[in-house]
């Protein structure tokens, strides 16, 4: 069924203006100074590529090592409290990486590459766990039972692994993309120990020194190539294995009893959540409440009250900007997602919406400056509009992915039967397609809100984003660190977690959307 053309055109225009135009301008700049490309052959550049790949590979290793067993356990076994554990496992992904770095650099003496890999690995294992859990739940019961009858547990696992592996690879490639583009964690870890500079760091430094766009772009080219490669893999894997649409008559597999393995499984799951959630959050709580006379509730309350007093405006600005970005992104992603799911060449829409995310955030921020920092657009450049546009462009890939998957799982017959009774494309889009995928739409809104709240890398460069709470935290941890900073990090976490957890607890149960 064709999508509503005017809505799709408006949505694609928004993507082009705030997502693709900044990238196109940056690519254009490089043609004006081809000599900048010579930097790519520097020994330093090659060493940076090596370090960045090391970082990405390390993060992928951790994410796979803990994400696969965790995802399988919560999806298919009688692990006690698996629903709650599954919801809690989202928290590390929602935590701003800078906040994780603040805690872990105090908790452990590791520094440099191991610490950076550890923090980003823990932060991104939920991507693997979530996709694995989803894939494991979507293997048909009769297939599992047939394998079990043939050769017991080993036959079952050998039958299931090819169906789960694409999901694990998809989660791992996304973790890789997040890790190699992260600027805040390597930057912060380097500030408290030996320098571990990676590509994202270098792009920012190159631009900051003399603001030569061409050099920043050429420096970033290998990073962009790596990211595109990883996202290509992710897109390819998206419809593989048991992530493909379910056939009619599907029955969920039965829950397996862990038996004597239950205790080790519980210890593993709780241990993982302890190091990825409870320890970093606990460290912040300890820091917020520790004064000259040790930890006290009074001191904790004082730190929170100081955080709210000093940073209320930053918090308010962050919440408003993130909410606005999520609210604007939703109809845009809905229109693009419908086109991607239903149009013959829709996968190109999906790929286009992922491009802004494929570029390093720092480069994306520089691109926004290049597009909008002109006398004619000065008010827009310095105001909230650009921040909302930048967040929309940067994070549109996620709601588009979620909504596309949800629509692909919805029978096209629903729209066709509405077309047969005279419903217009607009009516079909908003009255037939939207209601059954409401949980996916809620998930899409939440994802943009969460990513927008924790956005720091591109926001460092855009003037309107200087008032956000993440920017305030970034400055605070680099220049002076007081009790209230830990309290502010906790308040920020709380604000980020609320919509994510609400969605995870209620809406996610109604529909599996992250396929």
């Amino acid at each position: 069924m064709p999508t509503h053309r005017p809505t799709l055109i408006l949505a694609v225009a928004a993507l082009a203006l705030f997502g693709l135009l900044p990238l196109a301008i940056m690519a254009w700049r490089i043609t004006g100074d081809m000599s900048a490309l010579s930097r790519l052959l520097d020994a330093r550049t090659i060493s940076l590529i090596g370090r960045t790949v090391l970082l990405g590979s390390g993060v992928v290793f951790i994410a796979l090592a803990v994400g696969i067993p965790f995802g399988y356990l919560v999806a298919r076994t009688d692990l006690p409290g698996r629903g709650l554990l599954s919801s809690l496992s989202w928290i590390p992904l929602l935590l701003p990486p800078l906040v994780m770095a603040m805690s872990w650099t105090v908790l452990a003496p590791m520094r440099g590459a191991p610490m950076t890999i550890w923090i980003l690995g823990l932060g991104h294992f939920p991507l693997v766990a979530t996709f694995v859990a989803k894939a494991a739940r979507r293997i048909d019961r009769s297939q599992v039972e047939a394998a079990r009858l043939v050769g017991g547990w080993s036959a079952q696992w050998r039958m299931e692994w090819p169906l789960i592996a694409p999901a694990a690879v998809l989660g791992a490639t996304l973790a890789f993309v997040f890790a190699i583009n992260d600027f805040a964690v390597p930057d912060y870890v380097s500030s408290v120990g030996p320098k571990f500079n990676v590509y994202a760091d270098e792009v920012f430094a190159t631009w900051q020194v003399d603001q030569k766009d061409a050099e920043a772009v050429s420096t970033a080219l290998p990073l962009i190539a790596l990211t595109l490669l990883a996202l290509g893999v992710a897109l390819f894997m998206r419809r593989r294995g048991s992530l493909a649409s379910l056939a009619g008559g599907f029955e969920r597999p039965t829950i397996m009893r862990l038996g004597r393995g239950k205790a080790p499984a519980v210890i593993f799951a709780l241990g993982l959540l302890t190091v990825s959630v409870f320890m970093p959050v606990g460290q912040l709580l300890k820091e917020a409440g520790t004064g000259d006379t040790g930890w006290s509730i009074g001191h904790t309350a004082g730190a929170f009250s100081m955080a709210l007093e000093r940073c209320r405006d930053n918090l308010r600005a962050s919440i408003l900007l993130a909410s606005a970005a999520a609210t604007v992104a939703l109809p845009v992603a809905f229109a693009i997602g419908h086109g991607a799911a239903r149009m013959r060449h829709g996968k190109w829409l999906l790929a286009a919406s992922m491009l802004p995310f494929a570029a390093p955030a720092i480069l994306f921020g520089i691109g926004q400056i290049s597009v909008w920092n002109h006398p004619l657009t000065q008010d827009f450049y310095t105001g909230d509009g650009l921040v909302i546009g930048m967040l929309l462009g940067r994070y549109l890939a996620f709601p588009v992915l979620v909504i596309t998957s949800a629509i692909e799982n919805l029978s096209p017959r629903l729209e066709e039967s509405a077309a047969m009774v005279g419903a217009s494309p607009f009516t079909r889009l908003f009255r037939i397609v939207a209601p059954p995928i409401l949980p996916a739409l809620a998930g899409a809104w939440t994802l943009v809100f969460v990513f927008a709240m924790r956005e720091l890398d591109a926001a460092i460069l855009v003037p309107g984003a200087n008032k956000t709470v993440m920017f305030r935290l970034y400055n605070a941890v680099h220049f002076y660190r007081q009790d209230y900073v830990a309290a502010l990090a906790l308040v920020t976490l709380f604000v980020i977690l609320i919509p994510g957890l609400l969605w995870s607890l209620f809406a996610r149960k109604k529909m599996d959307v992250l396929s």
Partner: protein, 235 residues
């Protein structure tokens, strides 16, 4: 003579095993026509093309004397063709209950607000589901869902009803019940039925003509001979 459906040199856009030769087909008004053939031969594509959900590659299609498709050019929108469509899976909208589903259709068809409730009641009586107004569509059984889908199709006041294996998932008794209901409604409302099925034995008792799609071709329509004394013979 005006036919309910008439094609000239029609070529469908379909898969490699589907009918690829141009074909001429004429179906008289009020007939119940069975469409038979192996999986992948293009039966559903034929129905979707007639409904306007998919454009043909070549040829012309006329419905009740009106040219609706000329080559790949669609001249009449699906909802203006006087067609009702019963999908294999019912394709009921999961967000609404039965009454809201039918109300949505009647509003789309421009029925005045004051008349809708009575019409919903009448439609449900037709499909023998009186009292089902408040039932949520996902809670309906297979047979009930298909009857609601039939009511939804009838709400458009169709002259031609396209049935894309709507009885497939139902058990024998439900299939017989729905076939009987369709037969009665065909007589009452002077409907033409084009019925894709994998199980022609049951449907033959109610049908007048069968057409067969095979080896890339559409065979000439064949009149079905009914035994006069057959107990299930509806005529």
């Amino acid at each position: 003579m005006t036919f309910a459906l008439e094609t000239k040199g029609l070529v469908l856009q379909a898969g490699p095993r589907a009918i690829s030769d141009p074909f001429d087909l004429q179906i008289e008004e009020g007939q119940h026509v069975l469409v038979l053939g192996p999986s992948g031969c293009g039966k559903s594509t034929l129905l979707r093309t007639i409904a306007g959900l998919q454009a043909p590659r070549k040829g012309t299609l006329e419905l009740f004397g009106q040219l609706t498709d000329d080559g790949a050019r669609r001249l009449v929108e699906p909802h203006k063709r006087g067609i009702g469509f019963l999908f294999q899976d019912g394709a009921l909208w999961p967000q609404w209950n039965v009454a809201k589903t039918l109300t949505f259709v009647l509003k789309q068809r421009g029925m005045p607000r004051g008349e809708i409730k009575a019409e919903v009641t009448r439609l449900l009586e037709w499909v023998e589901l009186s009292g089902f107004e408040d039932r949520s569509t996902p809670t309906l059984s297979g047979g009930e869902a298909q009857r609601v889908a039939l009511a939804r199709a009838l709400a458009c006041k169709p002259r031609l009803l396209l049935l894309d294996e709507p009885l497939g998932p139902l058990d024998f008794e439900l299939r017989q019940g729905l076939l009987q209901r369709l037969h009665t409604l065909r007589k009452e409302l002077n409907l033409t039925l084009l019925h894709v099925t994998h199980d022609p034995q049951e449907a033959r008792a109610f049908a007048d003509v069968e057409i067969r799609l095979n080896h890339g071709r559409l065979r000439a329509p064949k009149t079905i001979q009914h035994a006069q004394s057959a107990p299930s013979q509806p005529k």
